[in-house]
């Protein structure tokens, strides 16, 4: 994997090369943002697989419109804005974003840079191992494999509400674990 530009100057240089048509430069500057874009797209359109299509389309739109990215603009925010439009267009009819959940979503992505939730991600990687078997299956199946909760319920021979409850408890448990780990790191 090519090294990510670790400063704004490097990113600007890559973007300039991408604007000149260098696809490899565009891929290098885009790649670190892909996890955020995938997570964001999934949160809006409500579908694991559709989110990948959304991000692919976002990349294409971004590449075609690099001329419109001014040097002083923030590339991550620009990508996120494109992804939002694509994801809203792609979301299932039955997935709604209320004003309050939309506000909470945007607050979580207020900083769209790749490192914004890196500490939580690192802590989560360890905390996931601490979940009990059933909770671990549900969390991994839902987030890592993109399985719908209804499909997980069927495969685990559980009621859907039970799966949601297990997921809820697992997420609370993960929150506590992450907070403990982050506190320990800050104290250390």
């Amino acid at each position: 994997m090519p090294a990510y530009p670790d400063n704004d100057d490097a990113e600007r240089t890559l973007l300039a090369r991408a604007k000149a048509g260098e696809i490899a430069a565009f891929e290098t500057v885009l790649r670190p943002h892909l996890p955020m874009l995938l997570a964001y797209a999934r949160a809006i359109c409500g579908d694991f697989h559709r989110a990948q299509d959304v991000v692919q389309e976002t990349a294409l739109v971004a590449y075609r419109n690099l001329d419109h990215l001014f040097p002083e603009a923030d590339f991550a925010s620009w990508l996120k804005a494109i992804a939002r439009r694509q994801a809203l267009a792609a979301r299932r009819q039955d997935v709604r974003l209320s004003a309050w959940t939309d506000e909470a979503l945007e607050a979580a992505y207020a900083d769209p840079t790749p490192g914004a939730v890196a500490p939580e991600r690192e802590a989560l990687a360890g905390c996931l191992e601490k979940l009990d078997e059933q909770a671990g299956r549900i969390v991994r199946g839902h987030y890592f494999d993109g399985a719908k909760l209804s499909a997980l319920a069927e495969s685990l021979r559980l009621n859907l509400n039970t799966v949601k409850t297990v997921l809820h408890r697992a997420r609370l448990s993960l929150q506590e674990c992450v907070e403990r780990r982050l506190r320990t790191e800050r104290a250390g």
Partner: protein
């Protein structure tokens, strides 16, 4: 209906963005959130956690997604961005180029244009152009229509790309013909044998891409799918879009949409079935480990890391390390445990095999094998002899030597004919081998080296994998026919047979109760099959371009050990060993 409580809203937030609440639920939640700042803060924290979880999961996807994006951007249909001041100046240049191009077309009419060529983007292992003296090829080579291409060897792979961005990834031992096309027809590819996965961009109306195998013809407008062509069966699984599959023998057709698969042979029912199945969940993953086996308790494993000579053991349930053993100076390539569970054998690139006491990890015996390329080990029933399969670097053929453990010397080595595949039976009494040159399956008695059976391969000229059942009464084969075949080991009489899915098998194993066969495939899937009904009961899937192998069931058949190898295989991070829970359910019947 009562107003939502904080608890109601929190339960909703736990699944927000992935599961849709009904209208009434959403309305109640919105009313509550409007009045409850605490719940609004909880909503932010749930979304932030959701972001962290989803990003953690997406890291795995990002690489393949980036590759797809690059391919799409490389398509001629995608206009490159240009600086504004260049756009007008380019108009005159384009006009001049058009004039030049028209002139060139007249001169080049008799030769294929670059748009008709297929590029060999990259490859691993050996890839040849058949008919051109089997000349090896280089990355970036342009292949004209009419080219026949073949990948050779277990670790071979070739990625082909068309001018419109359509991409084919050819698996191991795969032969394709890039057929001639004209203005009226779309792209045509013939899969003579082997496996490919395809990512086909949307094709022009009236010019779909056509693929053919010995048994079927496929019409593709724009989709992602996998195709395996054996001498007896064609297998198709669609990841995106739709593939129309027509059986050559009778012209019957079936449409295979996203999430569906079909197997086509000359006879029998033709239908598309859902690939939905019960999922195997890896409960433990050991990255950068190559060889592994269960210890006799069935709840712990011992594994050799890819890059080192040590050997490590873990408790599977909680991944607690049990012990570590500095076994060899160089990389440990194979591990196995004796039938009584007391002795661990480790083989290394340093050319030695060492036998250890499992309980104390003390070294008992060291054998100088004389070759660093040791592929496999197996104890005899009583543990007094050790069969060692070894060969030359880069040669998939091996020779067997049976060593007397007490004397530290070869007991006998009568079988110097190289073998391509082999299987030891669980009781440690017999060895089955496949000689690809002679095209013979042979059964040997490990105690005295006697040949006790010989017959033709039941699965075609190429045998990909073999495995004994634990009772020794059946031997399973996978090969170029595409039919997984279970035979009587002594005489080769076919007992059961079913159509393989997911590409060729890189490792398979029977459960101890004989009811389940686990198979690891070229497409990265590991599948469980009920031996009685021959139906798939569960599956798991690894990343793209992964070969999977099913290694062993635990002694109680509740756990399955599998191996995953991404190409190229000689990189530490590209190998992993997994332990999966085996579902304790009746077969899933879609």
């Amino acid at each position: 209906m009562n107003a939502a409580t904080c608890q109601d809203v929190e339960l909703l937030l736990a699944t927000v963005g992935h599961e849709s609440p009904d209208g009434e639920e959403q309305r109640r939640a919105d009313e509550h959130l409007a009045e409850c700042p605490a719940c609004r803060r909880r909503a932010e924290s749930f979304y932030r956690q959701d972001r962290a979880l989803a990003e953690l999961a997406a890291v795995r996807l990002a690489e393949s997604l980036a590759e797809r994006i690059v391919r799409q951007l490389q398509s001629p249909a995608v206009r490159k961005p240009t600086m504004p001041w260049k756009r007008y100046g380019a108009v005159w240049v384009v006009a001049a180029c058009l004039l030049l191009a028209v002139s060139l077309v007249a001169l080049r009419r008799s030769t294929p244009g670059e748009a008709d060529m297929v590029r060999l983007e990259r490859f691993l292992g050996e890839v040849v152009q058949v008919g051109a003296d089997d000349a090896p090829l280089a990355s970036g080579a342009l292949l004209p229509p009419g080219t026949t291409l073949q990948t050779i060897g277990d670790e071979s792979l070739a990625v082909l790309s068309f001018a419109d961005g359509t991409r084919l990834e050819l698996g191991a031992d795969t032969k394709v013909v890039l057929a001639e096309t004209d203005a009226a027809t779309g792209k045509r590819v013939v899969l003579e044998e082997g496996y490919l996965s395809a990512d086909v961009v949307k094709q022009p109306n009236g010019r779909p891409m056509l693929l053919a195998t010995p048994h079927a013809e496929l019409v593709v407008l724009g989709t992602r799918f996998q195709l395996a062509g054996g001498s007896a069966v064609t297998y198709v699984e669609t990841d995106e879009g739709l593939v129309q599959v027509t059986r050559k023998s009778d012209g019957r057709s079936v449409a295979v949409g996203r999430g569906f698969e079909t197997s086509v042979s000359d006879r029998g029912e033709l239908s598309a079935t859902s690939v939905l199945t019960e999922w195997l969940f890896p409960r433990a993953n050991y990255m950068s480990f190559g060889s592994a086996c269960f210890l006799s308790d069935g709840r712990s494993i011992v594994a050799a890391p890819f890059h080192a000579g040590d050997v490590r053991a873990w408790q599977v349930a909680d991944k607690q390390p049990l012990w570590s053993l500095s076994a060899h100076r160089k990389r440990t390539v194979a591990v196995t445990v004796s039938p009584d569970g007391r002795t661990l054998a480790t083989a290394s690139l340093d050319g030695t095999v060492k036998l250890w006491d499992v309980a104390t990890r003390k070294l008992r015996t060291e054998l100088e094998i004389g070759s660093p390329w040791i592929a496999d080990l197996a104890f005899s029933a009583g543990g007094t002899a050790l069969a060692v399969m070894a060969g030359e670097e880069g040669d998939e053929h091996r020779k067997v030597t049976v060593w007397d453990v007490a004397k530290r010397a070869p007991r006998f080595a009568p079988w110097q004919t190289p073998v391509q595949r082999w299987a030891f039976d669980a009781a440690g009494a017999r060895l089955a081998t496949y000689d690809r040159i002679a095209k013979r399956v042979r059964l040997w008695n490990l105690a005295d080296g006697a040949l006790v059976g010989e017959y033709r391969s039941p699965v075609g000229n190429n045998v990909f994998s073999m495995a004994f059942a634990h009772d020794g009464l059946s031997l399973a084969f996978d090969g170029s026919s595409g039919l997984v075949t279970i035979c009587d080991p002594a005489g080769g009489r076919v007992l059961r047979q079913f159509e393989r899915r997911g590409g060729r098998i890189f490792g398979m194993t029977f459960s101890h109760d004989g009811r389940t066969l686990a198979t690891g495939h070229q497409d990265g899937t590991v599948r469980l099959w009920d031996v009685d009904t021959l139906r798939q009961t569960a599956a798991t899937r690894g990343p793209a371009s992964t070969h999977a192998g099913a290694l062993a069931f635990s002694s109680d058949d509740q756990l399955l050990l599998t191996r995953e190898v991404r190409l190229p295989p000689h990189v530490s991070r590209n190998t992993a060993v997994h332990v999966c829970d085996v579902p304790a359910t009746t077969p899933f019947n879609p």
